[in-house]
Symmetry: C2
Amino acid sequence: MAENHIPLTPAAQYGVLEWIGREYYDLNGTHYDILNELPSPLEFARLVHIARPVLIKAGQMPHLIPLWTNEYLIRRMGDREISIAATPTGRADAITRGPDGRLYFAEPHIDKMTMGTFLDKITSCRAEARSADNEVYYLQSQNGNMYTGRYFELTSDPDPSEFEPLREDIPSEITWCSEALDRCPDAVNLWIGNSASITSVHSDPYENIYSVIRGAKHFTLFPPTEGWCLMERSYPHARYARSPTTSRLELVPSPPATPEVRWSSLHDPTDSVTLPSEAHPIHITVRAGETLYLPAGWWHYVRQSEVTIAINHWYDMESRGASWVWLSLLRGLRDPPSGNGDTLHVIDRALR
Amino acid sequence: MAENHIPLTPAAQYGVLEWIGREYYDLNGTHYDILNELPSPLEFARLVHIARPVLIKAGQMPHLIPLWTNEYLIRRMGDREISIAATPTGRADAITRGPDGRLYFAEPHIDKMTMGTFLDKITSCRAEARSADNEVYYLQSQNGNMYTGRYFELTSDPDPSEFEPLREDIPSEITWCSEALDRCPDAVNLWIGNSASITSVHSDPYENIYSVIRGAKHFTLFPPTEGWCLMERSYPHARYARSPTTSRLELVPSPPATPEVRWSSLHDPTDSVTLPSEAHPIHITVRAGETLYLPAGWWHYVRQSEVTIAINHWYDMESRGASWVWLSLLRGLRDPPSGNGDTLHVIDRALR
């Protein structure tokens, strides 16, 4: 985010961030609001200003809960091929040890298959929710797989979707959110996975409305003010690919010119042993028919306890005012050191 | 604000604040929105989230512009005595050199007089808008002189006002603001003064709606991110009092146990010679029938060009979330040094 770095020593930097994190926690604790009904645009505008997570025990798409059976999804999608993330670990977009012993930010391999094949892989599972080929499949393309911002620009090209037949079931925008923010969504995504898939802890510069249709999502959340506890480091990029001979997934480091990826070094932020004591996780389970407001910049780690279907609407955060500067300050004081570097033990000590 | 100070050297502290100020200015410039109509609650909630000043070319109380003549005000107020700030300089609540040569934060003397006497003093003026006794009078009690928060607490004691007869003219709250913020005002104040009165640069932790009824207010504004340019220092407290012998106003230092006051050292922030180049003032004139939204934490210096009547509605800022931490960070990194101290030249050099 921040291109100009503050001229601070690492110790002074952590002093500032630790102070901010403590002041914020002293004021807010781990409280989050629970609403029993969907908010009005005005109510939601107030919540966006507070920028704390909100669990809404109501859904924007209650009609989908009885409608979206496996049979229905398979029938509607037919033999269209959809993009599914495949990993041997269930951890796409996560820090992973490569064949050379170094740590990489690993992107998944993308397999193309029908909805029927995909649902069969994630529902007929063996131990640890693995599919029969011992790989983990997750519909998580998160590129606006239902709708992208182009959909709302009437003058531009059409916005194709692999999930075109499901569009009539899913509202392209959430009216109370669009009105509160005075904008259309930037992306709407469909997510389908099971308990073998885990989303590593990260943050997005988007206001996020997460609607669960089936199953349950278990979120572990941290405010932007505790991002410094999550040990962001710089990692080389890699991607899973199928071996031409065995067709097994192998992690393939990207060419050296590929930019490194800044990512949290915490494998499991629910593990209190590795989590710095200055971090105060908030655990929220979002069940079918419920909705989570996840404010821009909040860190989230997400698991599922069974086959889970969710839709999220991403809206650009407000760029005017101080919000962007605030998130830049909290994340961007300085380029993080290499996650594979010699100084790791020094930085870790400074973090404690 | 902040009771726990970040362990930073002054140079590192200014490094952080300068970085924040530059990033904020690069994103926002000196732009402010101008609305031609009063906003809806939802529109205003969005503006509060952006937290930039907004000039609204419409007023909440257009009926007062023809109604509030001097004759009307005098007739309605009769011989009630009202509290008027009196100073020899026109600068109440400002840094002033005392009889001992030291600098003080000077509060005004409060004279009691009728509305008729007061309006006569500020309208029949000699050179520099001084009254016949060469003193400057300003109705600026700013203690909720029209309504305090108690007014809205139905169960508590009544909320007396020196201006009770004018209450029926003035709405106790501004509906689009109360609905946007989901709260009642904390204070509603009447301000009447002329060009001899100047409000020194300061900030308040309130969302502020400023309605001009007569004349014009000239605001010089700085965002919270440029507060570090305004050279806050710690000053001993003093108050003007009338000499028992001459009845002239004299500045009387308060007892040494009186807490010092943290205040900007800039006498005139419109003077580009003394203003640090990192500060970017925004000049907004608010005329009769217009309204200014001044977001919480914004620094403001205010002049008037003629006899000016205004009403302001102060609302508590949102305390949940990060806003308070953000303002604390920008103001409270460290107790400011003494404005009379030996280190002034050192700190000033660090500021440039």
